[in-house]
Point group: C2
Chain length 209, copies 2
């Protein structure tokens, strides 16, 4: 089993933190996105989507998409549970995980990809050439500022994003906030509950995975 | 238990088809999105996000996000399995479900919301006022045309989107294609495998739920 990875990108990091929380050690191989190694023939034979993270379980059986990779490990090694223990918890954590992706990770990614020189005609992930749309930088910034408020309000009422214990929703939220800092947006002191939660999360051994 | 619903929107329909496949009957209440009933006080007390579908399990315990609602029912009533039976199947179905959302449902939604008169300053779902960006109509159309190719290629090698049996990935793909037709994009005869699959899916009793 091999995890194809890239240290500096947000999505592979979600998987590395998840594995560290579960204390799972597997072989990791780096795919150099900066040199577009992910869209070269050798890697496309492994993952035709050309994306990382990618988990090769065995020849011909692989999983793309960070959350789907986490699902595989959660089902295989349920403890400690990072995606909930019963139907209500599982659904609530999935709800929060998704809300954070849509309101945090995606707008940050959209602002970043429509701004960065390196993504000039690759503003959308995937094989289709898409030109940057400058208006999406501002739209992303507006949405990220709302996301800070949204997550702060949640954390003023809940110890962790998904409920009473640490879960994949916290991992996604941490990654969303880190990703937002790439476009220089950082929650200010008005977001007290969010900042307290951030301090707590940064103490976890897994977080620098 | 009450499911808050709106007949004409794509996301609530995913949940209704899922419930019909599992033969689950619950109370359903309509929230009139056209009259913005979803952002009026009465409904915001039930779901502060102002979104449908929303599943109220009991007082104070509710689930937003269609896929999270499906997860609740899948965990509670595992048969027939619509999200996979073992770790590999669960991960593969989640991967395909996500790929279809990102490559199909989202671009269709983006093209639609940035085009339709009724969403003039509400181009992004949620409480933040966001102006329409006309370039996103064309971007959405380009991405949808790629989505048709992408899903056709998958279905030329797999009986169903997620693997050997019908799953939530098929429900999402069907909804993506229906949503694309709102902006007048329909897979043509060059997408043979996709069209064959569509004919097969349309025969299911659940599909008009």
């Amino acid at each position: 089993m091999i995890l194809y990875d890239y240290k500096r990108a947000p999505n592979p990091r979600r998987v590395r933190i998840f594995l560290a929380e579960k204390n799972i050690n597997i072989e990791i191989r780096n795919v150099d996105l900066m040199n577009q190694e992910n869209i070269k023939e050798d890697f496309l034979k492994i993952n035709p989507l050309g994306t990382v993270p990618f988990l090769q379980i065995e020849d011909g059986i692989g999983i793309a998409e960070s959350i789907a990779i986490c699902r595989y490990f959660e089902e295989k090694y349920p403890e400690p549970a990072l995606m909930g223990k019963d139907p209500i918890e599982k659904a609530q954590i999935e709800m929060w995980q998704r809300l954070i992706e849509f309101k945090g990770i995606f707008p940050a990614g959209e602002a970043f990809r429509n701004k960065a020189e390196g993504f000039k005609d690759r503003a959308v992930a995937g094989p289709v050439k898409i030109e940057q749309i400058p208006e999406l930088i501002e739209r992303g910034e507006i949405l990220i500022n709302y996301f800070f408020k949204f997550i702060n309000a949640r954390l003023s009422k809940s110890e962790y994003v998904g409920g009473k214990s640490f879960s994949i929703a916290d991992i996604s939220a941490y990654i969303a906030i880190d990703f937002a800092s790439w476009i220089k947006l950082v929650p200010d002191e008005s977001h007290g509950s969010l900042n307290e939660w951030l301090e707590k999360i940064k103490l976890r051994d897994s977080i620098n995975a």
